[in-house]
Symmetry: C2
Subunit: 243 residues, 2 copies
């Protein structure tokens, strides 16, 4: 059976990878990924063969991985964060139907939601939602509905892909929707470059977040009604009763 | 500055810990946690001092950790999964206000949602919610509202704490609520003992899930309207458009 690992490498720095991910990479002949992620791991696995494709060529990258595995090589496809959260694991299963002789193994990693939460404090202690603001593959109306439902349900909310050149005003639009059900005083936070050079974070209110410019390397956190700022940290309590 | 790490050790097996977590434990004099989690790491750090408290004594455990750090020791508080997802990170910040000389550092880990997703396939590729069915600290009405909103928003949903002796019928109640907005044919999955001995999983429909008994070591996954079963795996596509 030819082996193909799909690996979440975590936020970026080598230290934040799991041992299981490191061992799978060590056992691989070929490591495949988006150029930026390959550059994050290359120095630790210098003797490996590396293959990269640009950002928008995800399906090509998957096919490349299966083709290499079919040659009898052990292959790792790497993703930033967790391979199963807005990552390549799903597309790999879809394309994998055409390669029944290749065995897939998904290796989970630390996603930006939990990696960023650890930088901000403890914003995700209670129920939360992850929502991507990218409308490349999802109708905006669907995203809008999810923002409204998540706000109405008093979830803490993590926004992935909060901005891009074409979508400069999406975070503002998202905040306006959440303000339908959440107070403007709701404690929020942003984290940039999680686990990489230049990591930074800021805690602010939902009103302030609405008028804050973020880039595509930023993850955005919106608290629930109980979230507080505690000595500069964003902290959500375990529940609604004190025990 | 006295150092106190709050560490997510991942699902259970040593391999699923991050290097950062392992290095922090190596640097620690004392490792503190709920008995079951301490037993998962003890054999790898035999020379350390271990302190444990039972399940319901979370606040006592936090105070114990700060008191040890205040003695000048480097201390690690360990949690299963991620310390910031239904974990101890929040309570540590709340109690930490009384110990200003102790510096907290949160080290993220692989939570059951992403660890379990990797076992089932790729159920969390798109927007999703985490909801705990435990009403120990949260009014059931709040949980009910979140289940309804998450279902109405067509999120994939992960249920933590789906069952206990006192709450044997909670998963059935939760399914009935989600069935208000989700089809009975929605693809669902359950994973037990993630990353531990006896790991197992099963893919089924939401109708079947409603009548399935689960225990407290099980994490439950409910797909969105696009989630499919693909050769025994639970797979959610990246979006709603084919690109």
């Amino acid at each position: 059976m030819n082996k193909l690992y799909v690996i979440g490498i975590g936020p970026g720095e080598y230290e934040q990878m799991t041992l299981r991910a490191i061992h799978a990479l060590e056992q691989s002949d070929v490591i495949i990924g988006y150029t930026v992620y390959v550059d994050l791991v290359r120095e630790h696995f210098l003797e490996k063969e590396f293959l990269t494709t640009p950002m928008t060529k995800e399906a090509d990258r998957c096919v490349m991985a299966f083709e290499e595995a079919q040659k009898g090589k052990t292959v790792s496809m790497i993703c930033s964060g967790d391979a199963g959260v807005y990552g390549m694991a799903g597309l790999m299963y879809e394309i994998g139907v055409r390669y029944p002789e290749v065995e897939l193994e998904i290796i989970p990693g630390v996603t930006a939601a939990t990696g960023g939460a650890a930088v901000l404090g403890a914003p995700l202690i209670h129920d939360f939602c992850l929502i991507s603001l990218s409308d490349l593959l999802t109708p905006w109306e669907k995203i809008e509905q999810r923002l409204l439902m998540a706000a109405k349900g008093d979830f803490s909310i993590v926004l992935y892909n909060p901005s891009s050149k074409k979508r400069a005003d999406y975070l503002k639009k998202a905040c306006d929707l959440m303000l339908t059900y959440k107070s403007g005083k709701t404690v929020c936070g942003i984290v940039s470059n999680i686990g990489r050079d230049g990591e930074s974070c800021r805690v602010m209110s939902l009103e302030e977040l609405r008028d804050t410019a973020v880039d595509m390397f930023t993850t955005v956190f919106i608290g629930n009604s109980q979230t507080r700022e505690l000595e500069g940290k964003m902290v959500t309590p375990r529940g609604y009763r004190n025990v």
